[in-house]
């Protein structure tokens, strides 16, 4: 009896251990996302916006990386452009958030307790304007004296998300928008 139980107990204890050690998650509530939608027509006014209010969380055990940003938090240099971005392009009152639910390739090396730069491959689903598309890009984790930062660049095609560019401004707004994301990550205290 004793012999029978012991391995089960061991397994249970180890899984407990594993489950707890799995909760090393890292997060940020002021991640930066910016994009550039400058079209072919070289205009004086640039079509760029940035937000510092994106949130993200990374789970080192499952390698899941999730992002969420409020569309209204993007700031343009030009107020009218910001208005049109919300009203006509992203329809932020209908679709207030953009999210990314992704995963970092498990084959990539990434250790948080060792300083260094770790290139990673990220794949996942990007949802904005009510439409979800698969996105894949390469990003970078940087660990320096315990400070963890992550960044990535990728491009999205507006047509994939059913974001229409009216014919009148077709030359001004790029069909493919360049997106930059970057953030510092801090450990999440409670699991």
């Amino acid at each position: 009896m004793k012999k029978n139980l012991f391995p089960i107990l061991l397994i249970c204890l180890t899984t407990t251990q594993l489950a707890f050690s799995q909760s090393n998650k890292y997060f940020s509530k002021n991640a930066i996302i910016s994009f550039d939608a400058e079209g072919k027509l070289d205009d004086i006014e640039e079509i760029k916006a940035t937000t510092k209010q994106a949130i993200c969380i990374y789970d080192d055990a499952s390698r899941n990386f999730e992002w969420s940003v409020s569309i209204k938090s993007f700031v343009f240099a030009n107020s009218l452009m910001q208005e049109h971005f919300n009203e006509n392009y992203l329809e932020s009152s209908k679709y207030p958030k953009a999210t990314f639910i992704g995963k970092i390739d498990p084959s990539n090396t990434l250790t948080f307790d060792k300083d260094g730069t770790y290139p990673v491959k990220v794949t996942g689903k990007l949802t904005m304007h009510g439409i979800t598309q698969n996105v894949s890009t390469s990003g970078m984790f940087n660990i320096q004296k315990g400070i963890i930062s992550a960044s990535a660049k990728f491009e999205v095609t507006l047509a994939d998300y059913k974001i229409d560019i009216p014919t009148l401004v077709f030359m001004k707004v790029a069909e493919i928008v360049k997106i930059n994301v970057s953030t510092n990550l801090q450990p999440l205290k409670h699991p």
């Binding site: 249970c12 204890l13 409020s70 030009n78 107020s79 009218l80 229409d164």
Partner: protein
Amino acid sequence: MKKYHFLLLLALFYSQIAFSQEEQSSLLGLLGEESKSEPVTNAFKSHRVINSQSMEMLGEGALDFRILHRFGNLNQGYQQLFGLDQASMRIGFDYGVLKNFMIGVGRSTLNKEIDGYAKYRIFWQSEGGKENMPISLIWVSGFTANGEQHPFQGTGFEDSFTHRLAYFHQLIIGRKFSNKLTLQITPTLLHQNVVINSLTPNDLFAIGIGGRYKVSQRVAFVWDYSFLFNRFPDATFAYPLSLGFDIDTGGHVFQLHISNAAGMNERAFLTAQNGSWLKGDVKIGFNLSRVFQLKKNTL
């Protein structure tokens, strides 16, 4: 033996807890982010409904160069090309000083009148949070000054500056009900320093009702009506009513409308001898607006 049983149970229990925590569907949920209350934007496409002020404001640092144009009466027939031969206009500049404060000046060809106003947003309608503001509340105060050489000819009034002045104060109570529908009511007090007829009150009370209904993403139907409570007794003039479309072309908003009011400032369209819609005494008009960003927004 008993000891092991207990340990086993405990271990099972713990792994259960640990796993159930792991199974939480979204990692983002762990951040406990609550949705914040955010101001409602784009209640109207422009800071004017048609003639009257809307609950919308210019963004900070934005300058709006605005040309308001009214043709002659539609019922003049083909000889006058349905009023298109005559034109009355107002050139104006509006500037967003702060997020909730804007100012504007303009000059109309009608009475060569100069007008200016200040507009302050007291409450901004918000949504998405736990506690939201249901309406927007905006205060507008302004003046108009008649710029004609002899505006009071034959009335015995001196052509002094004070005589030329009129003031107005408004409270705009508006709400964007849905993405498509916005309604606002505007109690207004208009004071004219000089009224030609002794039965006409110096202080006029009016209420404006304006709204918009979005027909498509870039086109909206708008209307703008004012009712006056205490104007000259038995006056037969119609109350100002304007109907039109806002067309958003990307860089600017084009407002095309039909109105029975010739005036393009608050004094002018509230007190003017507006024609009757039923008799076709109405004018085609348009507002052109071009917005320049003078001060760049920064994070």
